[in-house]
Structure formats: C-alpha cells, structure tokens
C-alpha cells in the first residue's frame, strides 16, 4: 500500500468512525448553543422563528433591572439545590452504610430504595400531587398527626419542602448505589486494625471511610447538584411553580417566558445566564471536592 493510499484510508476511517457522531453533535448541540448567544440580544418571538430583531442589551437590562420573578426563581433554585443536595447525600450515605452491613434483606432493600428512580420526574410529580392533596389528609385524619393536615402544596414554605421530599425520595436510591460500590472497596483490614486500636464508629467513619470514598462523594455531589439546579419535570407536575411563583425553578421560568409568553429572545438570554450559573457551580464544586481528594 502506498503512502497516499494509506492517507486516504486513514481519512476515510476518521470520517466513518467519527463523522456521524460529530455531525449530530454539531447540529443538535453546538449550533443551537452558538446561535443562543446571538438570539440573546434580539427580540424574537415563537410565532415567526425566522425573524429576530437585534436589540443589543435590552434583554439583559430587562432581566437584571425589571425581572423580579426570574431572580426569585433563581433564589428558589439555589436554596432548593443546597437543601436537597445535603439531605439526598446524607440519606443516601446512611442507606449505603446500612446496606453495607451483613443484613439478610439487603438485596430486596436495595431494589426498593432504588425503585423511585426509574420512573420519570413528570409521573412522580403527579403521583405525589395526589398524595399531598388526598393521601396526606387521610393519614392526618387517621393518625391525628398535625403535620399531615397541612395544605402541603398551598403555602410557599410547605410546597418548597414538598418538592424537596419528592426529589430526595427519587434521587437517594441512585446515589446509594454509587456509595455502596465505594464502600465495598474500603479494605476490611483497615477498619479492623482501627477497631483493635480502640477507635469508635464515628472516628472510623471520619478517619478511614470518608477519606477513602471521597471520589464517590465527588460524583454524587456533582450529580445531585446538577440535577437539582436543572430541575424541571418534577417542578412542572408537582407544583407548577405555585402557589403563585413561590416554587418556580429557573428552568421552569425560562420555559414559560419562551413558550407561554412567546418571548424567545428574552428566554434565550435567561437561558444563557442560566448556563453561566450552571457552569460556575459545576466547575467550583468539582474543583473543591477534587482538591480534598488529593489532600487526603
């Protein structure tokens, strides 16, 4: 085979192997993302997608100066992310520790804790909508526990916790699986040696287990943070942002600005701000936890 022929064959292979994937990626992800920067500076409505009028910084100004609802969505999403990430990971880790012991029902329990995760957020939201509206009041009547008699989805504060509950219930099982896999990898000799030295459970957890499973913690924090910050389906079906706009997430706010109000330009500008928010949070978080991995 000549050198020229070989180059041709290499070129053909590159095209056949990488070409299709690259083409779809460019068309569906890269092109819209790049176009988004342009559309952020235009007045563009959903009725005529071909016409976008350049308006400079009008959208950005409007978002920063006049759009309280967007910033309230931003605050809600930030608060929701912090709270649900902490609770989800604490619960998932506790469940993993529990199932890492030699209990008989561990396989069945693992399946049950994971089960909510396979059903999509939209369906789960509606299932829980029923539970908050009808199920809880029935439990309240029967047990007399006042907590169940609240109008859960009716006040901003309880609606917030309602979403947190469903999110934790849905996500904890998935993170638990990752934590279990990491715990299995912790060598038994280490904890046995520590036990002989008289270390307490808590000391062993802090001194041995947690440092050794830091990579799993990084992954779980990353996954839960990005899921919580982008939450959409669950928000739409469970509270639809209500009562009022009290539980409207950023993703839902963008969706409504564009598809309900038909302001695509403004929606795109918000979506780009959203992107920078997501990118900043993800990068900071990965850097922070990665650094701890190296230190310990």
């Amino acid at each position: 085979m000549g050198a020229k022929q070989k180059r041709l064959s290499e070129w053909l292979q590159q095209t056949v192997f990488v070409g299709p994937g690259l083409a779809f990626f460019l068309l569906i992800v890269v092109a819209p993302f790049v176009m988004g920067f342009y559309y952020s500076f235009t007045e563009w409505d959903g009725l005529d997608l071909d016409k976008a009028k350049w308006t400079g910084f009008a959208n950005v100004r409007r978002i920063f100066m006049e759009d309280d609802r967007f910033w309230s969505a931003f605050r809600f999403t930030a608060k929701f992310t912090v709270v649900s990430v902490l609770i989800t990971n604490a619960l998932a880790f506790a469940l993993a520790l529990l199932l890492n012991r030699a209990i008989k029902t561990r396989k069945a329990l693992r399946t049950i804790f994971f089960l909510p995760n396979i059903i999509g957020g939209l369906l789960l939201g509606y299932i829980w909508y029923f539970i908050f509206v009808r199920g809880f009041s029935t439990i309240g009547e029967k047990t007399g526990i006042g907590l169940f008699d609240l109008t859960w989805l009716g006040t901003p504060n309880t609606a917030f916790w309602g979403i947190v509950i469903v999110f934790v219930w849905q996500t904890a099982g998935y993170m638990m699986i990752i934590y279990i896999a990491a715990l299995v990898g912790v060598p038994k000799e280490l904890s046995e040696a520590a036990k002989i030295d008289g270390a307490s459970r808590l000391q062993m957890l802090r001194g041995i287990t947690i440092p050794l499973i830091m990579p799993a913690i990084t992954i779980c924090l990353f996954l839960t943070t990005s899921n919580a910050f982008r939450m959409f389906d669950l928000n739409l079906s469970l509270t639809a942002g209500g009562p009022g706009y009290a539980t409207e997430s950023i993703a839902l706010n963008i969706y409504r600005e564009s598809l309900t109000n038909n302001r695509y330009g403004l929606g795109t500008a918000k979506a780009m701000i959203f992107f920078f928010g997501v990118a900043a949070i993800t990068v900071t978080q990965v850097l922070l936890t990665k650094r701890r991995e190296v230190e310990e």
Binding site: Q14, L109, F113, R134, F275
Partner: protein, 277 residues
C-alpha cells in the same frame, strides 16, 4: 460471647431500621396502586384503605383516555431507535478517539465532554429554529436525531473509558489475517464491549423513555409519548382521581417491568457508569 450477642443485636436493629425505611419508601406506590382500583367516591372517602373490589374498569377507561397503545408505541419506537443509534455512533467514535489520539481527536473529545455542562434550556430555543429549518420537527427521525445529539457525549465518554482497557493485540492479529479496519471493530472489538454497552443502553433507556420536554418541543402532536399524554391528561381532568391513578399506574408499568427484568444489569450499569466519571 457477649460481643457476638451485642453484634447480632446491632444487625437486627439495622435490619429492622432498613425494613421500616423501605416501607416508608413504598408508601407512594401503595397509594398509587390501591387508588387505581377504587371508584372516585371511595377515593374521596378514604384514600388509604384497600379497594372494595379489584375491578379493571378504571384501567379500561384510562387506556382509552390517554390512547395508551398508541402513545406506548410512540415512546417505544423513539426509545429503541434512539438508543440503538446512540450505541452505534458513540462506540465507533470512542474507538477512533482511543486508537488514534491525534491532537484534533483529543480536542474533539474534550469538546464532547465539556458540552455535558450545557443545560437543555440553553439550547432548546435555537434548536426549535434548527429543527424547523432541517424539517426535523414533527417527524420520528427528527426526534431520534435530537437524541443522538444530546446523548452522544455521555455514551461516548463511557465507551472511551472502557475501550482504553481493551488490549490491542487481538486487533493486530486480525489485521494480519487480512481483516479491514471496519471488520476489526465490528467483529472483534464491539463484542468485547458488551458490559459497557449494557450500561449505555440502560442509562439511555431510562432517560429517553422518561423525557418530557424534548418530545414536547419536537413531536408534540405527531408522536405523543407517554409523559406528554399524562401531562395533557392532567391538563384536562384535574380531579378525576380514579382515572388519573389508573393512567399513572399504566404509564409507570412498562419501565417497572423493564427494571425488574434487567435489575442486575441496571445496578451494575449505574455503578460502572458513575465510577468511570
């Protein structure tokens, strides 16, 4: 001796705690299931008790109300085609990236990975423009192409990590025997990728089957999927709990069956899918 006893007591406590937590986790499914069989009056009277009779009337009406066979087939077709295509294009690209790590390919790979940070909302509106420009909107192939684009980053990333551990020697032997580069990949390498292919299939099925927003934007009225049908249903009848619960049970059933038939692979798949990250 005493140590042994206190240890097994500790285990028993853990066991009891685990079971108690599992019961709490299952409560929502209990509510869903029992209320699917009840009449509306029974539900309003007492949502927690068992139904008086297990008739299938609610299911029959829900089946028709959301046009279940049709929306099921739509969800099924979209999921199968998208996942099959993703397996093919992402494994091929990952293979090339591992075996020919030129500067261009390494940069390309980083670009694919970096794109995972982009939230869907940040591309969805310009994507509407693209899908109408390229006549993807409203067509089955249109939504499938969209899933190729959004799914390739993660799938390729998983394949990339796995292919790195596949020894080159087998391939070299095949080349000596006169196998073409494409034959080497499909006949020798691809069969070796089975474990990670299972992971890629599972993660993508769970995502695409449950996805709501992308189908709404691309094939809302032509290829109504199960989540879209449920969303429309709740927009129409808010308080018809009997019908709603049966519709939700019906809609959750296929993915639950999928989960229980592939449970072992799913747990392994998630573990390997995340540890590679």
């Amino acid at each position: 001796m005493r140590r042994e006893r206190s240890y097994s007591f500790g285990l028993l406590t853990s066991e009891a705690l685990g079971i108690a937590l599992a019961v709490i986790f299952l409560v929502p499914f209990y509510f869903l299931l029992v209320n699917s069989f009840k009449t509306l009056k029974e539900i309003l009277l007492d949502a927690a008790k068992l139904p008086e009779q297990f008739g299938l009337d609610n299911f029959r009406r829900a089946w028709n109300a959301i046009d279940f066979p049709v929306v099921f087939m739509h969800s099924f077709t979209i999921t199968v085609l998208s996942v099959a295509g993703l397996v093919i294009i992402s494994s091929m690209a990952a293979y090339r990236f591992v075996r020919r790590p030129t500067l261009f390919n390494r940069m390309l790979f980083s670009a694919f990975i970096a794109a995972m940070i982009i939230p869907f909302q940040s591309v969805m509106l310009p994507l509407m423009r693209i899908t109408s420009l390229f006549e993807l909107r409203g067509h089955l192939y249109g939504i499938v192409v969209c899933y190729f684009g959004f799914g390739i980053s993660l799938s390729m990333f998983l394949y990339h990590g796995f292919i790195k551990s596949v020894p080159r020697e087998v391939e070299e032997a095949a080349v000596v025997d006169g196998c073409s580069p494409y034959g080497v990949f499909w006949r020798i390498v691809f069969p070796l990728l089975k474990p990670i292919t299972a992971t890629v299939i599972i993660l993508n099925v769970l995502w695409i089957w449950n996805d709501y927003l992308l189908p709404v934007l691309v094939v809302n009225n032509t290829y109504t999927t199960i989540p879209i049908a449920i969303q429309k249903f709740f927009g129409q009848y808010t308080r018809k709990w009997d019908l709603a619960m049966a519709a939700l049970t019906l809609s959750a059933l296929p993915i639950i069956v999928f989960f229980f038939s592939l449970q072992k692979y799913i747990v392994e798949g998630i573990t390997s899918g995340s540890v590679k990250g």
